[in-house]
């Protein structure tokens, strides 16, 4: 039972990470029918930029290791802000280099161009930080919390709390604000949105900034659990993509739900046999898609004849 609770907790934390990234996929897909296939590479600066700034601030080289004493909550918050801002800004570059030339062209060109952008980013990061991983202490310390007998890492709680807060916040923004309304208008029909005076390109760029910033946030949130390194991204982004598809790429809430679902299933299967995690998850995803091709909460698209 404790093992189950423990797995459930870490599954929810990991699922929150998947959900954050998946939500980013939803936001850009809604506006342009594209998303960043190389999103994994965006987790890398997310985890490394903020941490390196902290390292420089305490007078260490940018690729060293932080001690627990140096990682206060204030420091972590500042690092998070730095990461989110930097990665969000990279999202603008992503849009101009890899998305804009291919929007509306159909085909697979945008898939390859975003993968290409990701490869360049990852190798730039490799040149800056090298292949070694950097241990990042959690601002809440490393001592395991005992809840109902189950050992839960404080960082997992932090991840879940921050991720849920961001998701709820974005959900409100998307549904209640002028920006959210404009975003949905662009998603529904860019030409009509432009006619009523919405600056479509600004909205689209903002969508990519948000999506990238979410990946950056995911990167720094997960760093104390996985350590920060150039290679953490691909696996996580692939699961986040799966979460978005299974939950329904066209539904923000579906993407978040898909994230949690995937995280929990992964953790519970891991409890049974760790090596069966990926096999089980991806077989499940294939089955779900055969039954519901547009995901659990996605809108079915019907071609008008």
């Amino acid at each position: 039972m404790t093992a189950f609770l423990q797995a459930l907790a870490s599954g929810l934390a990991l699922g929150a990470i998947y959900g954050l990234i998946a939500l980013g996929f939803n936001i850009t897909y809604a506006t342009t029918k594209t998303f960043n296939f190389g999103q994994g590479a965006f987790l890398v600066p997310g985890s490394l930029v903020g941490v390196s700034l902290l390292l420089l601030a305490v007078g260490k080289p940018h690729f060293g290791n932080l001690t627990q004493a140096e990682m206060t909550m204030t420091a972590y918050v500042l690092a998070t802000i730095a990461s989110v801002v930097v990665v969000g800004a990279i999202g603008i570059a992503l849009y101009y280099c890899a998305i804009k030339p291919f929007v509306g062209a159909g085909g697979l060109n945008w898939v390859l161009s975003t993968i290409g952008f990701g490869i360049i980013m990852q190798n730039t990061a490799l040149a800056i930080w090298g292949p070694a991983s950097i241990a990042v202490p959690s601002p809440l310390g490393s001592e395991v919390w005992r809840i109902a007998g189950a050992g839960i890492r404080p960082q997992e709680v932090l991840i879940a709390v921050v991720a849920v807060a961001v998701m709820v916040g974005l959900d409100i923004v998307l549904r209640k604000t002028r920006f959210g309304k404009a975003l949905r208008a662009v998603a529904f029909n860019p030409q009509a949105a432009a006619i009523v005076g919405i600056n479509v390109e600004t909205i689209v760029i903002l969508a990519f900034v948000i999506s990238s910033a979410l990946a950056g946030l995911a990167g720094i949130l997960i760093a104390p659990i996985t350590t920060a390194s150039v290679f953490i991204g691909l696996g996580i982004a692939l699961k986040a993509f799966s979460a978005a598809i299974v939950g329904g790429l066209t539904s923000p809430r579906g993407c978040m739900l898909g994230g949690f679902l995937l995280g929990v299933v992964e953790a519970l299967v891991g409890l049974w046999r760790a090596e069966m995690r990926e096999i089980t998850i991806f077989l499940l995803i294939i089955i779900v898609l055969v039954v519901r091709p547009s995901g659990l909460m996605g809108a079915r698209s019907v071609e008008k004849i």
């Binding site: 280099c97 060109n109 390859l112 490869i119 790429l249 091709p293 008008k304």
Partner: protein, 597 residues
Amino acid sequence: MPALAHAFGLAVLAAGLALVPFFGLNDFYLQILFTIGVNYLAAAGLNVLVGYAGQKSLGHAGLFAVGAYTAAIANIEWGLSPWLSLLLACGFGAVFGLVIAMPSVRVSGPSLAMVTIGFGIVVEKIVTEWTDIFKGQAGFYGINAPSIAGVSFTNLHWVWFVGALCIATHLMLRSLLAGRYGRAFLAVQMAEPAAQSVGISVVRAKTLAFVISAVTCALAGAVVAQQNQYFNSDFITFNLSIFLLVVVIFGGSGSLYGPLFGAVILTLLDAWLARWPALQHFTYGALLLFSLYLMPNGIAGAVSGLAARWRPRKAAPSDIPGHSALAATPSAAASGEILVVKDLYKAYGGIVPVRNVSFAITAGKVHALIGPNGAGKTTLLNLLSGHVAPDGGSIRFEGHEIAGWPAHRVATLGIARTFQNLKLFGELSALDNVLLGAHRHIETGFAASLLGLPSSRSAEATARADALALLADLGLGERAHEPAKSLPYGLQRRLEIARALASKPKLLLLDEPAAGLNPQETHELGEVIRRIQQAGVTVLLIEHHMDLVMGISQHVLVLDYGALIAEGRPEAIRRDPKVIAAYLGADDDAALTGDAA
């Protein structure tokens, strides 16, 4: 590419291969040539899937693995000869192609990407983790290479062997893709409903494309395992799937020569940059990012664009006489009820576009279906053609109960249609559009088409001649070789009719054929419909243009709010108070007064 230039190119390639031993190449260079061949093999099949059938796959590493592990296990564990293992690898490749096609044909867009990624990762994890059978990272050692007359393949032999496989694959795919199968793939990619309407099963076409790509990819994997004599799970990665896709798209998907460009350039680049791994990755990334921006259709697209500017394409007339489907004279005047509809019902939630409609269509006549906008006319047509499944009722066509049949099966019975919002195969020529209409009449087996047998060539030539005759008959002869999408709107409408006629239908359904036509074109359309009737084809058309309807039809059906409110001869319909009320609106008092009088 003209036949002569093609034969010359093949001869040069074969001569080049034969002369390889005289170039004094060391094993490093032989290995590069071998790798080019392997990448071409895998990409050539994948191109059929991606470039022709329009499907995406980000999981072909899984199929590469199927071939490689079949070759390894068949040889080492089951003691089969290397040749037999190679054949078996292709067979297993085909089986797994079917396996991945089953979920894939049901989804599209990002979900399709997900299903194929999932397949690739599941295979990757199985061969990594299930070490009892697949030996994981330790891998299989001592996989035997094939031998001829007791001599095991050297690296030079491998280059020759793979070169021969590539040429054979190229010739087969060239023959297949030039014929009805190639056209069917493209039709599925461009407009699924239209492909169904000419009798192409979308599911079967996509499945076939998956199987073809799986076989060549498995063959490539098997050849690598045998040449390497060693294979482990590290070969099978998500990156391999991406790489194979890049070879196709960078080279130029949908072009027969795209995979060749992709395989040669990317393999050479890879080998050349291997000394500087960091630079290699940057180049690879930059290539992905910018090359498609500069060349949206890959290298083959850029090359053929240049070639077209240099040497404009000329139309080739047919050298055998053809028979226009429109010129056919009915053997016996058809009569009786060809189509009987009873209590047909379709609802979308609370909206009921077709509400218990019953009517009969008499053979040999022109029938018109009219009604105000939103009356459910197009939905009714979609039910008849099988594009939408009814919720209840019966549709009998020549004694067959076809309610609920898929559209491609309905089409094979002899019901053809056009679409209100044109659904032409836009990138294909007018001729190819009509040839697709004739799809179900070009009787060529898969093997005959793959091997380019004379039977397949003559069937193709006959169909081509007939299609050209039909186009000429409809005044489209001059433009037979232009892409359909570049024709003026009126001619596009007419081309859709030509495509439908090419299937030699018994019943032709026309959905607003006069929409967007000018008066002159509308008049010509009336003539065309009369000629269609004279050729013995029964016509049911939806039309708002009342002059046209009243002029050419012998029987009019009126639909309003999903219900049939009147039917009869045109002159009777013109005076029917219910019809007038439906079109012009009448308040209840007026209607009552009318009834009382």
